[in-house]
């Protein structure tokens, strides 16, 4: 990362190769369209490059840092598009699922972690998973979600809290059991 901070394009290329799939996966999950997802990823990486971004390891992993930029760029796109439709993810056959590229220990671990997160999310009651996904991947506020689902706002927030609490326990924070 130090080389990227110094403007080393080759180092940036390494960072891109390491995180592009995760970035695209998140963007595609949020946008539901390949073209939009690619635009989001491109803008995210270019913004990191242009701004001379200096990674602060005390604030989390490089991947978390990259993904936070991707999510913000996707939400920016939603704001611009105004219409919040056609954002359900549908596999249009164009995006290639990642095959079996688990050729490094890090990648193996990453895939295991991803599977754990996916499993934990899938294990949530549907109503809790739904509000979490609408908020995080859809960029909707709790009141917007309440309107769509025709629920009291307090119910939506309550489901969010219950859901995150269960994920917290499932992902290894036992203190979450106290929620």
């Amino acid at each position: 990362m130090a080389l990227v901070q110094d403007g080393d394009a080759q180092a940036f290329e390494v960072v891109f190769d390491r995180h592009a799939d995760a970035a695209f996966s998140l963007a595609y999950r949020m946008c539901g369209r390949r073209n939009a997802a690619e635009d989001v990823v491109q803008e995210a990486f270019l913004s990191l490059w242009r701004s001379g971004a200096r990674y602060d390891r005390t604030r989390g992993s490089v991947r978390s840092w990259v993904l936070s930029v991707v999510r913000n760029r996707a939400i920016d796109l939603f704001r611009r598009e105004v219409v919040h439709n056609s954002r359900d993810v549908s596999d249009d056959g164009l995006a290639e699922r990642v095959a079996s590229a688990a050729d490094t220990a890090d990648e193996v671990q990453r895939r295991a972690d991803a599977a754990q997160v996916r499993s934990a999310l899938e294990d949530l009651p549907t109503d809790q998973r739904q509000v979490i996904e609408l908020a995080y991947f859809g960029g909707f506020t709790h009141s917007q979600i309440a309107d769509v689902l025709e629920l009291p706002a307090g119910t939506v927030k309550g489901r969010m809290r219950l859901g995150l609490g269960k994920l917290r326990v499932a992902l290894g924070d036992p203190s979450g059991a106290m929620l």
Binding site: E13, F16, A20, D21, A22, F24, S25, L26, Y28, N35, E38, D39, V41, Q42, E43, L46, S47, L48, R50, A53, R54, G60, L67, S68, V69, V70, R71, N72, D76, L77, F78, R79, E81, V89, A95, E96, R97, V98, A99, A101, D113, A114, V117, R118, A135, Y136, F137, G139, T141, H142, G154, K157, M160, R161, L164, R168, L171, D173, S175, L179
Partner: protein
Amino acid sequence: MTDDDLTTGRPECGEDVAAYALGALDATEAVAFERHLESCAACRDELLAFRHVVHALPMSAPEHSASPELRRRVLRAVADEPRRTAAGAPAAHRRSRLQRRLMPRPAAALATVAAGAVLAVVVVAVVLLSSSSPPATRVNDAQVTGHGTAQLRVTGGHGELTLQRFSPPPAGEIYEVWLKRGTAPPSPTTALFSVTADGTGDVVVPGNLRGVSLVMVTPEPAGGTRVPTHPAVLSASLT
């Protein structure tokens, strides 16, 4: 009654933690909750734990591979756009050229948000443009009330804000650029952005700045707002 209730006397405070961590509170609620956080250790602890969970959520997305074409586009753009050096060579017009060439569709709109950045503070920059504004780039230091520095570059009626060392914005919020004309209330723009982890950001100000007396940037909830909900912490005047 929960621990939160005992700490704050507000039975609903714990309920807001998850929505806040997910960026799902509206502007007013987020401001109120941040105020509440200052005095509620239980909510702060719970928020910290929830943030770890929220950071893991992207991993649940079905895995797809970025296309070779996307890789080529990004790396070609990087090669065409050597990054700003420590001396801070301007990149505004370079970016505009790249945006036109490399990011046609939605990205053209995204590009107005500008490069860089994720997290920060409110930015306000004042711009007074007369009809005789010269085409040359004018650079104005912004006045900052918080951490960091900012400059406003104006070229031919188009502006770009460059931010450095700004603090991250509150969780779930994003920066929104506003334009003020005369005594009229600030009008929102489509520029919603953040700053990078080190507080850097480059933001293209949408539209032509002729007639605009003030460019403001405020932290707003994830969807942006029609009316600023936070005071400005930075301003830059051309006069």
